[in-house]
């Protein structure tokens, strides 16, 4: 029997499995208080998913005050939509608005790597579609356990194939990402996905259900039993033993994606927007219809009535609670004026997309859901979607933090002889975290849609948005989680600084920030300390750089047993470039006789470095110093250099230091170089330190003086550090030795194929 509102009123003492659904005693009590009665099964299903950590941000929300406190009016000026919307939107000029967001799909990708990663891409793309934008490109920051661990061999190929399988079939170029290995992710890999989209500023659509009498239309795939997971305990309560009951307890909590349906859905949505026949649109992601209906109603000015039995189903015998919680992919929900419904249906029919009117906007302030004429949900939508619980979790700096900081890398054995240094350049180039990502990125379509200007292995991905003017955007995501572990505040600012710098070295101007905060359990005060420090670090860093955080995502409970992952706040920076034709490439060799200049200061900074990790398995000390004013100055210099045609290539220094940057600039440009180190500084420090705020640029001979003068005038340290040498076919580092490009290439390219080929 269906648990109706009447039934709930009549049976107030009926025991409900709210704990199995993840609700705490006081949360359940609050639901009863809101409703003035016990919830129905369907209501319980709705509240339990919407009040989950994933949907309600109940442990993190209190920290959002840092975003607002650090966003100045100037930073807000270019923001058309910010935190709270499906994705942030920024004005990039020429009448274009760009929307972008990062999201995590960590746990599903561990259970079922291919489908978990694939549906992660699918979900973030629908978020972008919900803003009214055309998705333009995706990126995939990934983290894995030790590279030679058997589980990494199971998980990595599946995740990479899933990211590619979905994105390639969807027709979105993959323009960048990350692949990081660290044992802390063993048993808990991170799959973050970013999507960026664009629209004309006047086409921005915010999802809300307003206008009494407007129709609610569900369109896209049918609704099945996918991803129901926990909610099946309700079914087993209601039914007993039959196919609809206990049999469903074992339902896999994974979803299978259908990128073909999503591609068609994209074109269909864009046509609906073009025709101007939608009031608002909402994607169905986590929490499915529970989320879409309550969020649409909550964001609107009225109520909503939904006839749930009209939802097209893929499985038989589904209960209302299951229909509401299903996470079947490739579905969207639209609010449409009655006069436009026919036109709406015609567009869907053209694209062979199933569309069903399931309800309408009502006056009043209730979300009422019926099932074959009986009311199964009758709730104030805001209490489901926006007024969930909020926790002030205990925060405490971990006890072992001091010991970690005290354990500096200063005593680790360092090479000094030339042949040792030469060998180390090669060893680092071949290390799993620094080796070429080609094995991964060759599985991703980078060309589709014809707007990709930069992609792997460039510092940032760049997409042309306007074909006429050449206006475009650049994006980079970064996070060195070892730095964050050592000092979450500084480490997060270093992630921000690196992503910012990666955008700047492509010639673009950084404009806005998104993030995906991957942490351990919020119930661990030490994790919450990391989290709070990270949020504050990011918010205050953004204020200093003058670019706003426009959105993000939190993923907690990333841990194996009681061991949390390294705190991993992945930061994504979006930049704008008025004409992509003046982009700065990563590889040298465009012109003969370029000079290599090193911008910035190099200090003895090895805490959390790739060298300490790779060679000594060491993590301790403090991360490199962060100087955001310096990062800003660097960006200004690079922009000026690009505008005036003074820079022919640029590559920032990050993991692995100068040595790795030299290896990559030479190999990507397929050109040799001769490098002179500073006689007054230890060659090891010069080659492998990971001091922030540094960039290697190649400038044409004729521009060297002008560029150097510009740096000096503006107070940016610059050192002439080498020359491009197309003839030599080798990287020659004075006092270290010569490494033929073939040998370098074999080291850099060989590692991932050998591990996963």
């Amino acid at each position: 029997m269906t648990d109706t509102v009447d039934n709930a009123k009549a049976t107030p003492d009926h025991e409900q499995p709210y704990r199995e659904l993840g609700l705490k005693d006081d949360e359940y009590a609050r639901i009863r208080e809101i409703l003035g009665r016990r919830p129905t099964d369907a209501e319980l299903a709705m509240y339990s998913v919407m009040w989950s950590e994933h949907c309600s941000y109940k442990s993190s929300k209190v920290h959002w005050k840092h975003w607002s406190a650090n966003t100045t009016p100037e930073m807000k000026a270019k923001m058309l939509a910010g935190i709270g919307e499906n994705a942030g939107v920024v004005d990039i000029g020429d009448g274009w608005a760009v929307t972008f967001k990062l999201e995590s799909h960590n746990h599903p990708s561990y259970v079922e790597p291919y489908q978990g990663a694939a549906t992660g891409v699918g979900g973030i793309v629908r978020d972008i579609m919900a803003m009214g934008a055309r998705p333009l490109a995706v990126m995939d920051p990934l983290r894995f356990g030790a590279p030679d661990h058997p589980d990494t061999r199971r998980v990595l190929p599946g995740i990479v194939a899933g990211v590619g399988g979905y994105g390639n079939c969807l027709g979105l170029p993959n323009i960048g990402g990350e692949v990081v290995f660290d044992p802390s992710y063993q048993g808990n890999p991170l799959v973050n996905a970013l999507c960026v989209g664009a629209m004309r500023t006047e086409d921005l659509h915010l999802a809300h259900a307003s206008g009494t009498g407007n129709k609610v239309i569900l369109f896209g795939a049918r609704t099945g039993l996918d991803g129901i997971g926990g909610v099946s305990v309700l079914a087993s309560e209601t039914f007993s033993g039959d196919e609809g009951g206990t049999g469903r307890k074992k339902l896999p909590a994974v979803q299978v994606g259908d990128p073909f349906t999503e591609k068609v859905l994209i074109e269909c949505c864009l046509e609906l927007f073009r025709e101007g026949i939608v009031v608002g649109i909402q994607d169905l992601g986590g929490a499915g219809l529970s989320c879409a209906t309550s969020e649409l109603a909550s964001a609107g000015d009225g109520g909503m009535r939904v006839e749930l039995d009209r939802v097209p189903l893929r499985a038989t015998g589904m209960t209302p609670a299951e229909v509401l919680s299903s996470e079947s992919q490739e579905r969207m929900c639209a609010v449409v004026e009655p006069a436009d419904v026919d036109a709406f249906m015609r567009v869907c029919a053209k694209w062979d997309v199933i569309a069903t009117e399931i309800g309408e906007v009502t006056d009043g302030d209730r979300l009422v859901i019926t099932w074959h004429g009986e009311t199964v949900v009758d709730v104030p939508p805001r209490t489901v979607a926006h007024e969930g619980p909020m926790y002030e979790r205990p925060i405490a700096r971990p006890q072992h933090q001091d010991a970690l900081v005290a354990d500096t890398p200063d005593t680790l054995a360092r090479p000094s002889a030339p042949d040792e240094l030469r060998a180390l350049v090669l060893r680092m180039a071949a290390s799993p975290n620094l080796a070429s990502r080609r094995w991964v990125t060759e599985q991703y379509d980078r060309y589709v849609r014809g707007g990709t200007v930069l992609a792997q292995p460039s510092d940032s991905g760049m997409i042309r948005v306007d074909e006429r003017t050449g206006r475009g955007v650049a994006l980079a995501t970064d996070c060195n989680a070892r730095f964050v572990k050592l000092d979450p505040y500084t480490g997060t600012q270093l992630a921000l600084a690196e992503a910012y710098r990666n955008v700047a070295v492509s010639g673009a101007t950084p404009l806005a920030v998104t993030n995906c905060l991957n942490f351990g359990s919020p119930e661990d005060p030490g994790v919450m300390w990391q989290f709070e420090q990270a949020v504050r670090g990011l918010a205050e860093g953004c204020k200093e750089l003058g670019i706003p955080v426009t959105g993000g995502n939190v993923s907690f409970y990333n841990q194996t047993g009681s061991t949390a992952i390294h705190p991993t706040p992945v930061v994504g920076v979006l930049g704008v470039i008025d004409d992509v034709r003046r982009r700065i490439p990563t590889g040298i060799g465009a012109e003969a006789g370029e000079t290599l200049l090193l911008l910035g200061d190099t200090r003895d900074e090895f805490g959390g470095s790739e060298w300490a990790h790779e060679v000594h398995g060491h993590l301790g000390g403090t991360p490199p110093r962060v100087d955001l004013a310096r990062e800003k100055l660097l960006a200004e210099i690079l922009l000026a250099g690009s505008r005036d045609g003074m820079v022919s290539a640029a590559h920032d220094l990050s993991d692995g230091g100068l040595a790795q940057t030299l290896v990559e600039t030479c190999l990507i440009g397929q050109t040799g170089a001769r490098v002179f180190l500073d006689p007054d500084q230890d060659p090891f420090v010069q080659l492998f330190s990971e001091s922030a705020g540094r960039v290697l640029v190649a400038v044409p001979r004729s521009e060297e003086l002008r560029f150097t003068e510009m740096c000096k005038t503006r107070g940016l340290p610059v050192r002439r550090t080498g020359v491009v040498d197309p003839e030599s076919g080798a990287l020659e580092i004075q006092d270290v030795g010569e490494i033929p490009l073939d040998e370098l290439s074999a080291a850099w390219e060989g590692t991932l194929p050998a591990l996963f080929g």
Binding site: A161, C169, K263, T441, V448, G450, R464
Partner: protein, 223 residues
């Protein structure tokens, strides 16, 4: 000259193909899978992508679309047709070209800048190239391994109907490094690499791909 590009559900490179046609100086005409109408075009391109998700076999479902009846009839009447990647797969499924395209030997999707050798510059789509020229054009596919029975391969090789061959490493295990072939008339050509992604060094590895679209314009001028 009017050149059409067909959009099937799941076609991805249609807008890029239309852009390439325009860049070559022809009039680009979008064609819809569900319309049995070629809108008076002088040549047709079947672009890349994953029509119908490639779920059954690449190109197997698209081949039955209403527009394909027109394309098949027009091709038999001498209209130039170019199939790129998924379009090549559709042409094989439709029987306009022999053989089939199967899962890459490495079992991964492969996207890379690929050197190709132009083996036949006498087709309607390749006159702008020098015979034996090497060009660089992206290849990107999951099912790009050209396969046919030995007798068919012998026939193709014997009649000089291999149009493009992979130079350097073979990315997908194609028989005889075959990247593209033509029918006996030289007017229907299919290839796995994507010339529409090589029309400008800003967004591709080169502008070598433009040669195919310029060739067909030349053919129209000659005709």
């Amino acid at each position: 000259m009017r050149i059409g590009a067909v959009t099937f559900p799941g076609t991805l490179d249609d807008s890029d193909t239309l852009r390439a046609i325009t860049a070559a100086g022809a009039e680009a005409v979008p064609l819809w899978h569900g319309d049995a109408d070629l809108r008076g075009v002088d040549a047709v391109v079947l672009p890349g992508g994953f029509s119908y998700g490639d779920y059954l076999r690449a190109g197997a479902i698209a081949r039955f679309a209403p527009v394909m009846d027109e394309v098949i009839a027009a091709a038999k009447g001498g209209m130039p047709v170019l199939g790129i990647c998924n379009g090549f797969q559709v042409l094989c499924e439709a029987g306009l070209l022999p053989g089939a395209l199967l899962r890459n030997a490495g079992l991964h999707f492969v996207c890379k800048d690929q050197w190709l050798k132009v083996e036949n510059n006498a087709t309607a789509w390749t006159t702008r190239f020098d015979a034996g020229a090497e060009v660089i054009i992206p290849v990107k596919n999951m099912d790009g391994r050209y396969t046919a029975l030995p007798a068919t391969i012998d026939e193709l090789e014997g009649e000089g109907r291999v149009v493009f061959r992979y130079a350097g490493a073979n990315p997908n295990g194609s028989v005889n490094d075959i990247a593209g072939i033509t029918d006996a008339t030289g007017r229907v050509v299919g290839l796995m690499p994507h010339p529409e992604h090589a029309i400008d060094a800003l967004t591709g590895p080169s502008d070598d791909g433009l040669g195919l679209f310029l060739s067909i314009l030349d053919a129209a001028v000659r005709a």
